[in-house]
Symmetry: C2
Subunit: 232 residues, 2 copies
Amino acid sequence: MSHAKPDLTVDIVLLTLIEGRLHVALSPRESEPAKGKWALVGGTIHPNVDSDSTEAALRVVREKLDIAPRHMEQVFTEANGHRTPSGWSASIVHLALHDPKSLTETVERHAMQLFDAEDGGAHLPKGLAFDHKLLINKVVQLLTVKANYSTIVGHFLAEPFTLAEFQSAYEAVLDVVINPANFRQKILKRDTDLLEPMDMVHSFGRPARGYRLIRHLEYFDRVLVEGTRAAA
Amino acid sequence: MSHAKPDLTVDIVLLTLIEGRLHVALSPRESEPAKGKWALVGGTIHPNVDSDSTEAALRVVREKLDIAPRHMEQVFTEANGHRTPSGWSASIVHLALHDPKSLTETVERHAMQLFDAEDGGAHLPKGLAFDHKLLINKVVQLLTVKANYSTIVGHFLAEPFTLAEFQSAYEAVLDVVINPANFRQKILKRDTDLLEPMDMVHSFGRPARGYRLIRHLEYFDRVLVEGTRAAA
DNA sequence: ACAATAGTGTCTGTTAGACAGTATTCA
DNA sequence: TGAATACTGTCTAACAGACACTATTGT
């Protein structure tokens, strides 16, 4: 067994929701390989610094953007002999969500950019580093499935948020149109509460009740969405 | 960065269904560390042999048991500094399913054993190697969630299987009691077929239609199960 | 008063779940 | 013929989805 061990890295697909579309945070690589190309937030695991891979992912985000994302979870590991020019490597890929206002400001402060991540990566810049386009596509796909069964899209919103905002997050991620009256009933009239009431939120018209998520990451027994596929 | 890279391994939680309970295939470790302790099927990735981590997992199962499991998928990666005595290491953990008849024979031929993997590992042998008890518990939990939304439990059955057998697999994994008439309708009267009819299966009483899975790994829009939690 | 958004009540078609009953095999 | 298992039809309560309506704010 004299072969070099594979590299072990973490990559974070950090997403937010801007004008109803998923956007991913990318930064230009500062060193070889793939210098200058747009890349995911990521880095090598430091065994003497990181106690586990989740800590490593949080450290990398903190070093790069100086924030703790509103949600982060490990989703899969991409490990093969052809994903980087230097041979075998493994990346533990994480999905992270953050609210658009905070993330936009943060990204601008750190010479990064947000790119539309939908439509299979068609709107991403050409020539992303390594297999990052593939990683983004896989994560977006996973998020879409998970959104059907959970309140995960609530992590795109700064708390307190209104039911209308919560609904819009579902509509954006799932690409459907939801009836507000039925959405309200389905979310609020449950045996076990998903949301906790907070202060009122004022904007136009009648003020709305603000809510925040309780019970993160729980799976529903049904799909949450009514709805008619959104028109093109 | 002169630190040693973490070890990169694959571990396979190979499960089957015996007398209505999930069982995991374990083998006694033949070398240090943890020599003699019961351990998951697993091994180090060989960069010059394995093209990717899935290939590595299949190779390890083939070398150890000489079979290709009826189902295998990557589920998560456990990576931290305290899971093995030798320091930082990462294991890409896979869930594999196989039918009980074939797996029982295979396991006996290779000095391995099947252990009841339910109840949080309470029936596993004491002192499993490394963090393998934790890995088993996490995988069993994931399988249970996934069973609600998919036909994954069908991979415990040799084809062709009957609807009664298919139903029993759900009942065992989800620990519920299902009404056969309703189960039949729910599975067969769908817009998109889940099962393909095959030859009849004869045992006692009236022969039953045999089926095999089509459309693997697809998510339903609802939980598949009716049902009353099974009595203790 | 009006525009704008929040929130409620009620109807209807669909379906999950319960259950009674029929069909086909083997001994 | 009876035991055992496979399969079908139908009823009912629950609920998803549609929609009309009322409520509360700012201008």
